[in-house]
């Protein structure tokens, strides 16, 4: 696959994602949609539209998220309990590309330049949100199957 067609696929996947994500309540009509800010936002108005996790805080999907985390081999790089290895730890407090739920979603969907694959072509958005919900439970009392 050429890099151009790869980009086209990713962009296509993102467009789908944007459709399925509920609008942020603060979203102003003049602002672009589906903006995942990783870096700082310049200027006075910092209320960029962000995607919202439909399962935010929903403990009922956490075990399912862990299942997808293993199924898609996230555990292969980030560790069985996301402690790191080939990829960085997701258990610690360091987030290279933002630790907010929408940022984690974007990292999974779009990939990151140091080797994180762009899973938006492979994992449906609903499953990505479940994985995100699981990741947010790491090192909390809600973490399913914590390391022993």
């Amino acid at each position: 696959m050429s890099s151009r067609s790869r980009i086209a696929l990713v962009v296509g996947a993102l467009a789908i994602v944007a459709c399925e994500v509920p609008d942020h309540p603060n979203k102003a009509s003049s602002q672009p949609v589906s903006t995942f800010s990783i870096g700082p936002q310049p200027g006075p108005d910092r209320a960029l539209a962000v995607a919202v996790n439909p399962y935010h805080g929903d403990k009922s999907v956490v075990a399912d998220g862990r299942r997808w985390f293993n199924y898609y081999n996230c555990s292969g790089c980030h560790g069985d309990h996301a402690g790191g290895g080939m990829g960085p730890s997701l258990r610690d407090s360091t987030w290279f590309y933002g630790g907010e739920e929408h940022s984690i979603f974007a990292s999974i969907s779009e990939g990151r330049q140091y080797g994180m694959p762009a899973w938006g072509t492979k994992i449906p958005p609903d499953q990505i949100w479940r994985i995100v919900t699981y990741i947010k439970t790491l090192r909390t009392p809600d973490e399913p199957d914590p390391p022993r």
């Binding site: 199924y71 292969g76 790089c77 402690g83 790191g84 080939m86 960085p88 730890s89 080797g115």
Partner: protein, 619 residues
């Protein structure tokens, strides 16, 4: 010897340590009856031996390939630094590489220039040995793809450069082999040989034999189909590719193929010893060391583990993974093969070094190949035909019960076989093996092989593995901990003639550096907490040590400078599979992290920090 019981909460480990305290742990005692013999290392540029004395004038003082000579002895004939004066060794120059990850390579010395390569981004530096402080003459940055870092299983290491006919050859993490003009640092050619989207990376040091640059791939944990390629050293053209799975025509098995044992004889075993199509994603990569015997015109090297680690999905011998090959360098044609670990079940890659020497065995001099293998045995093999002459354990092994010398077959212990959904405990050695890639040194003066290695055991639980190209394909939970005795590593002196340990210097942490032996009868190696050490190669007496800036996983060398003096050089720079546990982006609250690496060295973060620095020492 400190007991490391505090490392694990398991009662088992505490019991092991208690046993050790009783048994007195320090075993660095020379064996009075050891034989120094008159064996000769007659291959390549290995020094000529006469009555056990090495003529240092026969050693040109350079270090032009990773293992010094084609025979891979990592033995220097230099004698200036010896047991009497090594206490005066001091650093004369240091050089920061600007890279932070694991520095697993050896510097090269060609004429009056030293060449080093960093882990990703694989920058090559030429240092001027004629000037104080060893200033850089040039550097070359191949700018590997950023994303290649995410595909490397076990840190973004590089195991070194090789020099031949005016050029330097090396591999980049994103699968390019590059030739540089050694004088100018300008690229002569560059060949793309692999694809990160398939999970391939490259970390090994090439060897040049007969004008052919020999290279292999990494990615056995990513469902990669492994290979070795031969490239024309002048043009970079791929002359041949020998896959390590699949039909004979892909493996370059033809009319000349004469394996010694029936287990390795038959047509297209690389297909029939797998479930349908599993060989296409079956591993058998080649990220370790190659030796060359110019007299036979044969190269020797081994292949890595089969994939996935969950062995229940790949019934059969899984040829030609964990297999030793003898091939013709110009055509790649296989001459013999021997599968060290058929149907490997514990990640026992077969990529370790092989040392080519001639040894008196059973009253006659045999052309042998010595391999301290990951599965826990030192193999002494007839390198003319692939016969195993002996295979003795060099540490505690319970995963198997030796090698059947009649059939050549490894005798697995069925009790230690991993099962889906069941935790199998106390498997020894652990997945990195009794010894991983870190190379041994052999001294023809003492007749001893100096083996840096681990002492780790593990619990394993098979999981279902889902093949997604470019992502891990493993299917195993691994938890590692110290083996019997509690020390996690040692530098062991081994007599390949008797198949017995002579002595061992125990180390708390795994010894993940290579070793070098010199005609001054010294052995140098480093520890993961950053001590660079010299010991007496005959008595194992500790003679000198120096604390470097970061843990050592590099390979030391000895060379003669333009001023005629002897120098010792080593990389500091923690990393590699276990060393990566020192990195800040790894959490250690889960012992299963990094395929069990976190459980093996949970204390490493408190004992060293990242940083790549070259150290050069002299009297």
């Amino acid at each position: 010897m400190p007991c490391v019981a505090s490392l694990g909460s398991m009662q088992r480990v505490q019991l092991i340590c208690a046993a050790v305290v009783v048994a007195s742990s320090w075993s660095c005692k020379p064996e009075p009856s050891r034989s120094t013999g008159s064996m000769s290392a007659s291959v390549g540029t290995a020094p000529q031996v006469s009555n056990g004395e090495v003529d240092s004038s026969a050693d040109d003082g350079q270090w032009v390939r990773p293992a010094k000579d084609f025979a891979s002895t990592r033995f220097s004939g230099l004698t200036e630094i010896n047991a009497t004066n090594v206490k005066n060794l001091r650093p004369i120059a240091t050089f920061s590489t600007g890279a932070l990850r694991g520095h697993e390579s050896a510097p090269l010395v060609v004429g009056s220039t030293m060449y080093v390569i960093t882990p990703y981004p694989n920058v090559v530096y030429a240092l001027d040995l004629t000037k104080p402080g060893l200033p850089a003459k040039w550097s070359y940055n191949p700018k590997p793809a950023l994303a290649s870092q995410g595909v490397a299983c076990c840190d973004v290491v590089n195991r070194g450069l090789v020099f031949d006919a005016g050029k330097l050859f090396f591999n980049t993490l994103d699968n390019r082999t590059i030739a540089l003009d050694a004088n100018s640092g300008k690229p002569v050619w560059e060949t793309q040989v692999g694809d990160i989207n398939l999970g391939e990376t490259m970390t090994m040091a090439p060897l040049v034999a007969h004008g052919v640059v020999l290279i292999g791939d990494s990615g056995g944990e990513m469902g990669v189909r492994g290979w070795l390629k031969g490239l024309d050293e002048n043009s970079g053209k791929v002359l041949w590719t020998a896959y390590h799975t699949g039909p004979d025509k892909d493996v370059l098995i033809g009319a000349a193929f004469r394996p010694f044992y029936p287990q390795d004889q038959g047509k297209d075993l690389g297909v029939s010893s797998w479930p349908p199509d599993a060989w296409k994603i079956g591993g058998g990569t080649m990220w370790g060391w190659i030796s060359y015997d110019p007299q036979q015109d044969l190269i020797f090297y081994g292949t890595a583990n089969p994939g996935p680690w969950n062995h229940e999905v790949r019934p059969g011998d899984n040829k030609w993974t964990s297999t030793l090959f003898a091939r013709k360098p110009t055509t790649g044609e296989a001459v013999w093969a021997y599968q060290l670990s058929p149907h490997d079940i514990h990640d026992y890659d077969g990529i370790n070094e092989q040392i080519l020497v001639d040894l008196p065995i059973g009253g006659q001099t045999r052309k042998v190949l010595i391999r301290p293998e990951r599965n826990g045995y030192v193999y002494v093999m007839d390198r003319t035909n692939g016969q195993v002459l002996s295979a003795e354990p060099y540490g505690f092994v319970n995963a198997s019960a030796g090698v059947d010398l009649k059939t050549g077959r490894l005798k697995y212990n069925p009790e230690k076989e991993p099962k889906l959904g069941k935790v199998v405990r106390e498997i020894c050695p652990a997945a990195p093996g009794m010894k991983d890639w870190q190379p041994s040194a052999y001294s023809p003066r003492t007749g001893m092989l100096y083996i840096p290695h681990q002492n780790l055991c593990m619990d394993e639980e098979s999981l279902s593995a889902n093949y997604i190209a470019g992502t891990p394909y493993v299917g195993m939970n691994v938890k590692m901990y110290p083996g019997p005795g509690g020390n996690r590593g040692e530098l062991e002196a081994w007599n390949p003639q008797t198949g017995k340990q002579v002595w061992a210097v125990k180390e708390d942490l795994p010894v993940w550096s290579g070793a070098v032996a010199t005609a001054g009868d010294l052995v140098f190696y480093g520890t993961m907490d950053g001590w660079f050490k010299a010991i007496d190669g005959r008595t194992c007496a500790p003679l000198w040590k120096f604390k470097v800036a970061s843990g050592i996983v590099g390979n030391p060398i000895a060379y003669k400078g333009p001023d005629g003096k002897e120098y010792i050089a080593i990389y500091a720079g923690i990393g590699g599979w276990l060393g990566a546990m020192a990195f800040p982006d790894v959490s250690l609250d889960d012992p299963y992290t990094a395929l069990g690496g976190a459980g093996a060295v949970p204390d490493i973060k408190s004992k060293t920090t990242m940083g790549g620095i070259l150290y050069v020492f002299s009297l």
